[in-house]
């Protein structure tokens, strides 16, 4: 009995979280969010899906004719994802390892061009715009390179439990 209450409460809390995040991007105030923005909603709920994951999710939920996703459809699908912890956050150590893999020469930092090459050519490539933004955010002004150890620490977001 107690378990049921707790999980009901937990689910209600999750629903509220999802609604709240959804609302922030619902600029028409009609319980819909544009498909291209729905990624932001999902990310902001603490999930770390890949692009492939996102595409799969969106096609599962379904868009309407004008490319909008409705809250009614989004809510149950998203709730499931959160309850299952399907796209958990990336632990710092793994992130560090990833950077170290890219840092072939083991310099302890990455040149902007190095990072650009990997991010725009490998994996799920960035667009030009995304790349520019990343460089602006991550490149250290004085040393003109990406000090990835520091960067990881600075950009860790408070988990929203």
């Amino acid at each position: 009995m107690a378990d049921n209450n707790q999980s009901a409460e937990a689910q209600s809390d999750i629903h509220k979280k999802i609604r709240s995040a959804f609302k922030t991007f619902d600029f028409l105030s009609n319980n819909t969010v544009e498909a291209c923005e729905i990624n932001s909603v999902i990310y902001s709920l603490g999930c770390f899906p890949t692009q492939a994951d996102l595409h799969a999710f969106i096609s599962e939920v379904g868009e309407d004719n004008s490319g909008f996703i409705e809250l009614d459809k989004f809510l149950p699908a998203m709730t499931k994802i959160l309850l299952e912890h399907r796209f958990p956050p990336i632990p710092e150590e793994r992130l560090l390892q990833a950077f170290e893999v890219l840092d072939k020469e083991k310099k302890g930092y990455l040149e902007p061009e190095e990072l650009r090459k990997y991010m725009t050519e490998e994996g799920e490539p960035f667009t030009q715009e995304e790349m520019e933004e990343m460089l602006t955010a991550l490149v250290d002004n004085k040393q003109k390179c990406v000090l990835y150890k520091e960067v990881i620490g600075q950009l860790v977001i408070d988990p929203d439990t």
Partner: protein, 741 residues
């Protein structure tokens, strides 16, 4: 043999490496995209916070004036209160033009030798206008003599303009259009730097809201007016909703002028009132593009607009006085305008307060019906009414009858003229206050309290009817400085960058050539912004927004505790996160994503995720108002309505000395208590007054009073950030007034 083996293992190694690299790349991309999305989320809700607080502030302002107007129309309060209210509307003095000229005589004002600012001679030349720009860039202040002279010339010129400016792009002229500037001189200087100053080859349209909020409103006006005087056929000004002295009282312009011009400020403000009322209401380019400040409604008609008497609308919040000879025959109090007590005015006023029920999702902002004054007032004022039985019966019928009855022609001989007046007033309000919405239709703008929300169908119909193709308007801050809507038929243009705080938004201006295709240029003032990276600037703005929000929460402490208690029947002192969000949403009436904001607003919670709400309030602020012997709820009211209170104080302070008498202070509070439905005893008020009037000389220093009730935020004490919504005095008193003006 060895080669073969090593080759394949080498190959495997390489492909493994490649896979690892790909995996690493994906990981980093995932992580970074998440980060960007989170940042975007924070940017969005920060925006929502500022905007919802701004709009609810405007709403409060308008409600207050509606309330006071209602009082004026329907009561003779006891003589002390009546005087106070008539103070508030004293600006409706009628003077002949000759009297005005004498009143604003500047010739007697001497410019001292120590004055290092610009000297103006009239007629103005372009070199002088540019010189003025330079002087203001170098933080000089124009002497009041020249200010008055310039304003006088401007007034004389504006009177000759029609309600609607008409310009054409003939001779391949490209017209530059700017949106709200709100006293931000940096932005105007940036626009002139990028685009060039106004000239015969470079016409400009400025679309209203030149003043309030920013600290250089008067300088902006002086620059715009001087270029107007030099190029009257190439500079066009539209009136905005902030070109209105009633709004200026609350949003900083009045204070700015009185601070910068201690001796002649009042005269300058008076002259500006006239000038504002003479500003044209709209501009039409090539008969195809309409430029106006707010927007339209489903009843907007340009030919009707062209015929109104625009200068009789000194403030858009009050309809103009009507010389009404056939007043309802009640006994008139001599020191009030005659027509205030006429029957038709009651009907007219009544209709201004009543709106049809709103459709659509915005009704969450609407928390207090504009119509329920009667209940409130009756309790306090009934005694005074008894002696005026006739008026009381009028009042009763006005309140009890339905709207339809009030409008029926048989009840009033002046119904047609009052209908017309009503129409006109509504037209002007709509022009200056409306916002576009995405749904079809046209509903009252209850968020702002004035004008309406109009939909794409209204735009379509309007443009077809007038044979036009585009509406350019301002009035709303947009993150990119501009935004198209209604199938790109409406363009919102906002020219005050960093409006809410550093890094909050860009500004934009538009260039329109003979092809009438708008070409938008964006910018962002302040060198500081350019150095901040994307993540840093969102942090600052966010902190600023959260600070403002925390102040609001603190100011509603009693109501919030009440709401929390409802979720905590066993009095444990704890509520869940969900319940916290529900309670806050219910009390604050701000359409914000509270659950998302939770982690930013509440730092302490126990393991099972519940919040100790009393503790939470302690965490919100380190230093509350330091008047321990004053009752808690009174303090909260004070804090919550600081801006309104300050506005009223400044109105009451008729000689602009910064001091009001204890007596006036008491009257103001009594009035406010009726408006806010609060029980404030005379004793409470006296206690409050005594606290403030520390030297017991019978007068209260307004600034000190407001300063005493400011909250200091524990988290960001060192970061002042621009707290725009509680207009603070420290911003303006730091101005360098080097002159004896």
């Amino acid at each position: 043999m060895g080669c073969g083996v090593s080759k394949s293992s080498q190959f495997n190694k390489n492909s493994r490496k490649a896979v690892t690299t790909i995996r690493a790349a994906i990981l980093i991309q995932r992580w970074y995209r998440q980060y960007v999305a989170r940042t975007e989320m924070r940017r969005r809700y920060t925006w929502h916070i500022f905007q919802s607080i701004e709009y609810s502030g405007q709403q409060a302002q308008i409600k207050l004036y509606n309330f006071l107007g209602y009082l004026m129309d329907n009561f003779t309060p006891s003589s002390t209160e009546r005087n106070l209210i008539s103070h508030i509307f004293r600006e409706h003095e009628v003077c002949l033009d000759a009297e005005w000229e004498r009143y604003f005589c500047y010739q007697t004002i001497e410019v001292p030798e120590v004055y290092t600012g610009p000297h103006l001679t009239f007629p103005l030349t372009v070199e002088q206008a540019v010189g003025l720009l330079e002087a203001f860039r170098n933080k000089k202040q124009l002497h009041s003599r020249y200010v008055l002279q310039l304003l006088l010339e401007t007034w004389k010129l504006l009177r000759m303009f029609p309600n609607i400016n008409r310009i054409s792009t003939c001779q391949s002229k490209v017209i530059t259009i700017c949106g709200d500037l709100h006293g931000q001189l940096e932005d105007l200087l940036l626009i002139f730097y990028k685009n060039g100053v106004p000239s015969l080859e470079r016409p400009y349209v400025f679309n209203g809201d030149f003043v309030d909020r920013g600290k250089d409103s008067i300088e902006i006006l002086l620059i715009l007016f001087s270029f107007l005087l030099v190029y009257p056929c190439d500079v066009y000004l539209n009136r905005g909703n902030h070109e209105d002295h009633l709004i200026n009282l609350r949003y900083g312009f009045t204070k700015e002028v009185l601070t910068k011009y201690k001796i002649h400020g009042k005269r300058i403000l008076k002259l500006l009132q006239k000038i504002f009322s003479w500003l044209p209401l709209a501009t039409v380019i090539d008969q195809k593009v309409l430029v106006l400040h707010g927007g339209i409604s489903d009843t907007t008609d340009l030919s009707f607009l062209a015929r109104v008497d625009r200068h009789s609308y000194i403030s858009a919040l009050r309809p103009p006085k009507r010389r009404n000879n056939s007043s309802a025959g009640v006994s008139i109090d001599t020191d009030l305008e005659e027509d205030v007590w006429s029957t038709s005015r009651i009907y007219q006023r009544r209709n201004s307060l009543s709106f049809p029920k709103p459709l659509g999702p915005r009704d969450c902002f609407h928390n207090r019906s504009l119509q329920d004054f009667s209940g409130r007032i009756k309790v306090k004022m009934e005694d005074e009414l008894e002696s005026r039985r006739r008026r009381e019966s009028l009042f009763q019928t006005a309140v009890n009858r339905s709207e339809k009855d009030l409008l029926s022609p048989s009840t009033s001989t002046d119904s047609t003229s009052s209908d017309n007046a009503k129409e006109e007033w509504r037209l002007i309000l709509d022009l200056l206050w409306s916002d576009p919405m995405n749904q079809d239709g046209c509903v009252p703008n209850e968020v702002r309290g004035g004008g309406c929300y109009w939909g794409p169908d209204v735009t379509e119909e309007f443009l077809n009817r007038h044979n036009m193709q585009l509406i350019i308007r301002s009035h709303e801050c947009k993150q990119e400085g501009y935004e198209f809507c209604h199938n790109r038929k409406v363009l919102t243009l906002f020219s005050a960058s960093n409006y809410y705080d550093v890094g909050s938004n860009r500004g934009a201006y538009v260039k329109l050539g003979p092809d009438l295709v708008p070409y938008v240029i964006q910018y962002q003032a302040s060198s500081l912004t350019r150095e901040l990276t994307a993540r840093q600037s969102i942090g600052r703005t966010e902190r600023s927004a959260l600070k403002v929000l925390r102040e609001q929460l603190f100011a509603h402490k009693s109501d919030l505790i009440c709401a929390f208690k409802k979720f905590d029947p066993e009095n444990t002192g704890l509520v869940s996160m969900n319940d916290w969000a529900s309670a806050v949403e219910r009390v604050m009436h701000l359409n914000l994503p509270w659950r998302t904001l939770f982690s930013q607003l509440v730092s302490s919670k126990s393991n099972d995720g519940s919040i100790d709400y009393q503790d939470w309030f302690n965490e919100l602020a380190i230093k509350g108002p330091n008047a321990d012997h004053i009752e808690q709820s009174l303090l909260e009211t004070l804090y919550r309505h600081r801006a309104t209170l300050e506005t009223i104080f400044r109105i009451v302070d008729t000689d602009n000395s910064g001091l009001i008498t204890v007596e006036d202070f008491r009257k103001t509070w009594k009035l406010l208590s009726v408006y806010l439905k609060m029980e404030i005893t005379d004793e409470d008020i006296s206690n409050l007054a005594v606290t403030i009037d520390s030297n017991h000389d019978g007068s209260i220093d307004i600034d000190e009073f407001m300063e005493a009730f400011r909250l200091t935020d524990k988290k960001s004490r060192l970061e002042r950030g621009r707290s725009m919504f509680m207009v603070t005095t420290t911003d303006l008193t730091k101005l360098e007034g080097e002159l004896n003006v």
